[in-house]
Symmetry: C2
Subunit: 788 residues, 2 copies
């Protein structure tokens, strides 16, 4: 099948050689960039870093995708799963010109080439992986497994986009990648673009073989047919043939994609069990690199994973082999003496935004359209008095989210990603505006299920996270509601995304991106029915560790605060917003005006629960999180009832980072305000939703941190009652009240007696609980006005 003319093959092969040269040269050279002189040890970098093994295959794919783009004018986003393949991606964005446009110092001449080689993987230069510095990339190399999920997220609601996603056979062994193949069950060819997976089998990881690399073509074809793909195989072989094969595979794949899309879009019906194309490319690891060294095979083995020849500076023979290898790419033929890629080759790249390094979606901030947001106060829960109204916070939020879907239906730029928990998390009002998305056969008993749904439910936190990331990085908006204990499944994905955002802030040409919004509900304290495996607030700790410029953590104590916080989050950019809020019926504290002011300040005194009359209190009862707030309010009430001469102040914290010194986080309260809330020296009994250590840390640097006595989740839990959960973790109203009495310096006449009383309540609880007699004591009918 002759797709390419002999001239095309000649030129494309030359282009490939040039890119292979640039990839290898980035690893090795600090001088003599065009090999005009014989290669000498001083031309070699002092420290050899970079990954050769995957690079030639990536270069091969890139030149062929360029050809496809020129022939079809398709908009193709390149996702490079083998993140270590930076030398290849860099070579190509340099050759197509986007690199120089982005970084004008790296010119298209000999001087620019030298600088281009030197900066790679050098101190003060650029990272060794594909990173936010790389034009055209939405996908960091390093931690493997997320390329295909990113690729899928990127094409959602981008009907004209194709993401060419290279998956390495190392990466293919990871769980998240193995779970990503099911994207065909969720991508709708009517409204979404397409992913073209290119599985690149080069057989080895760092030092061992890959599982898929050793599978026969038959087994692979079978496997991927099961996932809904029709693989097209391309195998490294003699020059002409391999180029023809790859070109044919790409043409076929492209036609199949367009055919599926055209059929779907003309009939507007989805065809079940579509077979999407994918390409499986088998090539030797380190393809075209040095073949042997001292009797050991390099090309085609793990020995070419990173730097195939390490001793070139010291070993003359190795240096000669390196020179021979580099010269095999004929740089003098492909570049002008001034160091410019020959025009006949340069013209093989697409132009303008069609260059993969310049694809606008890869710098999603360029294309972002802000969400049309409803007025959040419209969804306010009426609260005439604190602690009387009962509401389910997430259910109220669901109504606002429903209208976000409605208002932005035309823009098609908002989605909700969730592991089958939208209803469980009581956000089901969204189903008044949209459905769950599903491309497999539908049945009569299905509930709000259709190919057009904008709620993506898949029982994989990895996919929810990866799809959402891909969606955000290409300039759209979204939210990820998740059970608190299980969101730690994506700790490491969050880490990498937060790193990406942090670096983007340092790169001027990267435009602002919509924030990643987590709604953590079904949280630890109210997983009393599900038990210990569902109880764990550790995700807050993971988030708080990341760069303060990109992380925000909110613990709205009630529905109106949740509305205010989420409105803010959905409008924000460049952050990861972590919002922790309950779904169970709970007492409401603030009306919408109070809530808005409270959230704006981050933390406030709740006067109605305090009896300090704005004077210095004997003890501060602070709280963050809905359940800790309830217990703190109850503790304040108990203290005021039983020991009215103890001056108690209640402080609620909704913005966790407001606790930190301002020089650490921009949300940190000014010192004067911090002191106004917490005093400089009064004991603080702090009831916290998560593990205590965060608070211990955040107040380090505040006046007298040792006076903060924090209660939180101490890994005690089981299937029990909500109130038993707070008792087991020693954060109940009685525990807090006892701690307040014990920590105050004031001499309290009745202190010991009241401690005895509360301890007795706890003893009774532990008897009751065994008899299943008691749930959380209600405080709804407590009369504040009777208190002094």
């Amino acid at each position: 099948m002759a797709i390419l003319t002999p001239e095309q093959i000649h030129d494309m092969h030359a282009y490939w050689e040039a890119s292979n040269y640039l990839a290898a040269a980035q690893i090795y050279l600090q001088a003599n960039p065009l090999l005009k002189e014989p290669l000498l040890p001083e031309h070699i970098k002092p420290r050899l870093l970079g990954h050769w093994g995957t690079s030639p295959g990536l270069n091969f794919i890139y030149v062929h995708l360029n050809r496809l783009i020129r022939d079809t004018n398709a908009s193709i986003l390149f996702v490079c799963g083998p993140g270590h393949g930076a030398p290849a991606v860099m070579a190509n964005v340099y050759m197509e010109g986007t690199y120089t446009e982005t970084y004008p110092d790296i010119t298209q001449d000999e001087k620019g080439l030298k600088q281009f080689f030197r900066q790679f993987s050098s101190p003060g230069g650029i990272p060794s992986h594909v990173s936010p510095h790389t034009p055209g990339s939405i996908h960091e190399g390093g931690e493997l497994g997320y390329s295909l999920a990113h690729a899928a997220g990127a094409v959602m609601d981008n009907p004209d986009l194709i993401t060419a996603c290279v998956v390495g056979d190392g990466e293919a062994e990871t769980g998240p990648l193995a779970g990503s193949w099911k994207l065909n069950s969720f991508l709708n060819p009517v409204r979404d673009g397409a992913v073209l997976p290119i599985l690149h089998l080069n057989g080895y990881k760092i030092s061992g073989p890959t599982v898929m690399g050793r599978m026969s073509d038959t087994r692979l074809a079978t496997l991927f047919a099961g996932y809904g793909y029709m693989p097209l195989f391309v195998k490294a072989k003699e020059t002409e043939e391999v180029h023809q094969e790859m070109a044919a595979a790409l043409d076929t794949a492209y036609q199949q994609i367009r055919e599926i899309q055209d059929n779907a879009r003309s009939s507007k019906k989805h065809t079940e069990s579509l077979h999407w194309p994918m390409i499986i490319l088998r090539s030797p690891k380190g393809w075209t690199g040095p073949v042997m060294w001292k009797g050991k095979r390099i090309e085609g083995t793990f020995r070419s994973h990173q730097v195939p020849l390490m001793d070139v500076k010291e070993d003359q023979d190795q240096l000669a082999l390196l020179e021979q290898w580099l010269r095999s790419y004929k740089p003098e033929t492909h570049f002008t003496p001034e160091g410019r890629l020959l025009p006949s080759l340069a013209q093989l790249a697409p132009t303008g935004d069609k260059r993969m390094g310049a694809n606008p979606y890869a710098n999603g901030g360029k294309t972002v359209q802000p969400l049309d947001m409803p007025d959040f106060s419209l969804y306010a829960v009426e609260v005439t008095k604190p602690g009387v109204t009962i509401a389910e916070c997430t259910r109220e939020l669901g109504k606002m989210l429903r209208d976000v879907f409605k208002l932005n239906a035309e823009s098609s730029n908002f989605r909700l990603f969730c592991p089958d928990e939208t209803t469980s998390n009581r956000l089901n009002a969204v189903f008044e505006a949209t459905d769950r998305c599903f491309m497999e056969p539908l049945l009569d008993d299905d509930d709000h299920l259709s190919p057009d749904g904008r709620v993506l439910e898949v029982l994989s936190e990895h996919l929810c996270q990866g799809w959402l990331e891909g969606y955000l990085l290409t300039g759209r908006h979204g939210i990820f509601p998740c059970y608190e204990a299980f969101v730690t499944i994506v700790d490491s994905m969050f880490n990498q995304h937060a790193k990406w955002l942090k670096m983007c802030l340092e790169i001027p040409w990267r435009n602002d991106l919509p924030s990643l919004n987590y709604l953590i509900t079904s949280h630890s304290w109210r997983q009393d029915h599900n038990g210990y495996s569902h109880q764990g607030p550790g995700f807050i700790d993971t988030v708080v560790n990341k760069k303060s410029s990109v992380i925000r953590i909110y613990l709205p104590p009630d529905a109106n605060c949740l509305l205010s916080v989420m409105d803010h989050c959905l409008k924000s950019k460049n952050y990861v917003n972590l919002v922790v809020a309950g779904k169970q019926p709970a007492l409401q504290w603030l009306n919408i005006a109070q809530a808005t002011a409270h959230c704006a300040q981050g933390a406030s005194v709740w006067d109605w629960a305090s009896n300090d009359n704005h004077e210095k209190p004997d003890v501060v009862l602070a709280c963050a999180g809905d359940v800790p707030t309830l217990e703190t309010i109850a503790a304040a009430w108990l203290l005021r009832k039983h020991i009215p001469d103890l001056k108690v102040r209640v402080v609620n914290v909704v913005d966790l980072m407001s606790l930190s010194p301002k020089d650490y986080h921009s949300h940190g309260l000014e010192t004067a305000l911090f002191t106004e809330l917490f005093t400089d020296d009064a004991p603080v009994i702090f009831a916290f939703h998560g593990y205590v250590r965060i608070v211990h840390d955040l107040v380090h640097g505040r006046p007298d941190p040792a006076r903060f006595h924090v209660r939180g989740f101490i890994e005690e839990g089981t299937t029990t009652t909500p109130f038993d959960m707070v008792v087991l973790n020693k954060i109940s109203r009685f525990h807090l009240a006892i701690a307040a009495i014990e920590r105050t310096e004031k001499t309290l006449e009745k202190g010991d007696a009241v401690i005895s009383l509360f301890e007795n309540k706890l003893r009774m609880h532990s008897i009751y609980i065994r008899e299943c007699l008691e749930d959380m004591p209600d405080i709804k009918n407590w009369k504040w006005e009777d208190l002094k």
Copy 2:
């Protein structure tokens, strides 16, 4: 194909009915356990909890596995992927008698039944998921995705064991589970047992459909053929047929497993591309449960996921439907009037250790054989003087691990699990004793690869963790070396394992288990070559949050400390040991005797680096972690050189938890010793390997915590030099020395001048680094003896 006689079918069906009855009754009943009276609202529990949907399918599988065991005398371990299926597992271990043997209060009579029902999912009772409380289980329900990995780990080196692993179609959507199907590439039928996956498709998750549930048989068969399985399909249908089908499938699967094993074991050669059996069972969700309620289908839909009828206490019609449902299982026919399972049914269960609830491997501590450990001091690096010898810590450890493999070769009870990084982590001495394990075709260029290898390298941290957990939970030993940044991939798996261990400690009949040992190397500070995506010490934070009784964290500063620590960890039980140690050439500080003493105490003053003459120092320089230790030593030297009148004390912390108050962690230093090391009030400049917040937390509760000024990783990194990494994160020797001068209360004549000098050094560094001129300044030749 008639496998079963009509009598067998009758009895097995009755057994199934009895187990379905017990499953449903656990969810609903608190009285009237045998329905001797008409069902009344007061017989119903006050709070209805539990998951019905998956239970009848699990019960069906269980009764059929019982039949297989009785017919073959096989040792079968049951892993229940659908963790919400506790009602079923509980029903079966009760019926086979293991539950009563384990918990004698839950008798085999009406009173016992009532108690059995009441305790389920009740406060003071037992959790709603399969948990450590459940006899026969090594696998907690709740967080989904790890059943198949646990199953594979369990059969490694247990040649006679078969793990029957039920995988739910919800769980099958997760990444880790999707990645687990490749176990056939790593299980060796000569030496390992077999996993029999039973994929249970009931079509729905909480409220949406499952991907695999909607795939056709053909597509599923194709998919699993790709993974190396030959699926046997069983579909819910009319009574006789479905029992025959399931019995035939199990018989076939069992014969195929034995055939593969017999062939492999007689020829002692492994046959490539084996096709292992698996079973795919399609059944309605909530099979045999209520069919419809108010015109909506329950059986076969998501509506039977949890409690299918929620209003039975209030709604007479619903109560009637519940009664009809429960009576459809004919409890009066299957149980004696005294509440005992009919002997004719009870005899269907296997006996003794062959009962799945009594399988000894499920309480791995019963079968554990301690490792034969070499004397770790034999591997000592000779250190005649601190700070002169250079060694790679993990390379030294590798020699010890090699001999652990050798000494325990016969017991076959030690494995190393690692994502293809054994050599990269410089532990490759182990390959003198064993190979990497691989069951796919081998090639000439492969390096230490064989089906018999005891090093499991798979590029999936999830699989490494899951396999190791399965291996440990069945009583063997292992170690998981991992890149620090990427071990956070398994944060949530670690969480669940730590929870499992914590609960096991509270359950008397659970025997002690070997610890899970992480070796975190390729750590953040020395990923200077790989860049920011490889830099993140957050796993320490995840570990430290778990119950103090089960976690241990060590940061050995040099090779001899690492040997001592790892010797201790490999001998320990019931812990998760996190060991952070470098692989790069590094200065060594302690000889083996000093190292052993240092590790035993947890933290010590390093006199040779201090000039306080055991008097009160002006400042304490504390450190934990190899790179922070190097910088601290250098800072001490710089201070002593430039400001000899400043009294400096150096304290190294190897056991992180030694910092915490003793009432929090048993490794906490006694108050007197803590004061002896850190004084009560001297400023402490603490250079820490991880994020600062851990230290802020651990010293909370120690005298004057505000004096601890901690430096750690502040999310600054890129591809650069090792020394630049410490500069970027403000933890370099100069930063530490400046902090020491600034924090001391002593008036230092030369203080400002020396600060200027050090600041100038840092300015020079930032110029140098851009010119690639400088790496980490060497301190090897610094002369301590010249200092005062």
